[in-house]
Amino acid sequence: MLTEFGKVLVFIILAAAFVVIALFVARLIRPARPTKEKFTIYECGENPEGTPWVKFNIRFYVVALIFLIFDVEIVLLFPWALTYQDYGIYGFLVGIIFLLILGLGMAYEWRKGDLEWEKPSPKPPNLAKILEKSKRNIPVEVPD
């Protein structure tokens, strides 16, 4: 006997199966004539240089880490939001203590500057220097 959630599950599985079957049938009936050109990476007409498997910056790991911790925190707090009023001040305090503990972690990240996204600061062109160069007929390199 399926429950109501089981019926939803049947729909999800059927939807996933539909996509898989459609892609599989398309793979069976479409022509496949692979050439070397087709396998190169499309770079707006340029020849690709290097490998697409570039190294990510360590900042991405830090951001993903902070996201993971707060994700778990939200999941643990979600039942609290629904039930804390049943227990009065006691139930409220349980969640607040939890939030304070995780707030310490947040404060640490903030203090250490892990929440900042350091952008490389673009230098404004130094106008005085350019003028001086142009006076002495030195070819001007205007920074873009």
Binding site: M1, L2, T3, F5, G6, V8, L9, V10, I12, I13, W53, V54, K55, F56, N57, I58, F60, Y61, V62, A64, L65, I66, F67, L68, I69, D71, V72, E73, V75, L76, F78, P79, W80, L82, T83, Y84, D86, Y87, G91, V94, G95, I97, F98, I101, L102, L104, G105, Y108, E109, K112, D114
Partner: protein, 171 residues
């Protein structure tokens, strides 16, 4: 052969095949994608077991956050493929197979020896109530209050520890 059994078989096959695919693909990115597939199959199984909140949490936490972290680290370290799946030491391979067979036989023997289905059958109504968010919240904030706060400390320690380890003079 009813509908529930068919769904179980589909999900169990998905989970089992993707688990095997995970440990047999040489590319770690493909391994990670197989593992995400496995997590989705498990989420479906949890839904079949009437644990609706766990099912959603499985997708949010495991497939949505933990695997993203794994993929970022794979991209960060750019480890590439393992040329040989098995270790160069030959005996580790046989050792692994023996251990795997032993573990599986032991677990299977326990399961069939105990035969829990003789005295446990699914209580649909009770399990529906047990899996709701309200019920989990009531248990979590009364009976399991201390473990809950301890989980908070664990997350705090994980945040600070991981940041200290990962950020220390990189490059």
């Amino acid at each position: 052969m009813n509908l529930e059994l068919i769904i179980f078989i589909v999900l169990a096959l998905t989970g089992a095949i993707s688990a095997v695919g995970m440990i047999t693909r040489p590319n770690p990115v493909i391994s990670a994608l197989f593992l995400i597939f496995n997590f989705f199959a498990l989420a479906g199984l949890y839904l079949l077991l009437n644990a609706q909140f766990i099912s959603i949490v499985q997708i949010i936490v495991y497939a949505g956050a933990i695997m993203v972290l794994f993929l970022f680290v794979i991209m960060l370290l750019r480890t590439g493929e393992e040329p040989k799946l098995f270790s160069e030491k030959k005996h580790i391979k046989y050792f692994a197979i023996v251990i795997a067979v032993l573990v599986f036989v032991q677990l299977g023997y326990l399961i069939f020896y105990e035969a829990p289905s003789e005295y446990i059958s699914q209580r649909v109504q009770q399990s529906m109530e047990a899996g709701t968010i309200e019920n989990i919240g009531q248990q979590l904030y009364t009976t399991y209050m201390i473990p809950f706060e301890a989980a908070g400390f664990l997350l705090l320690a994980a945040t600070i520890g991981a940041l200290v380890l990962a950020k220390k003079n990189f490059e």
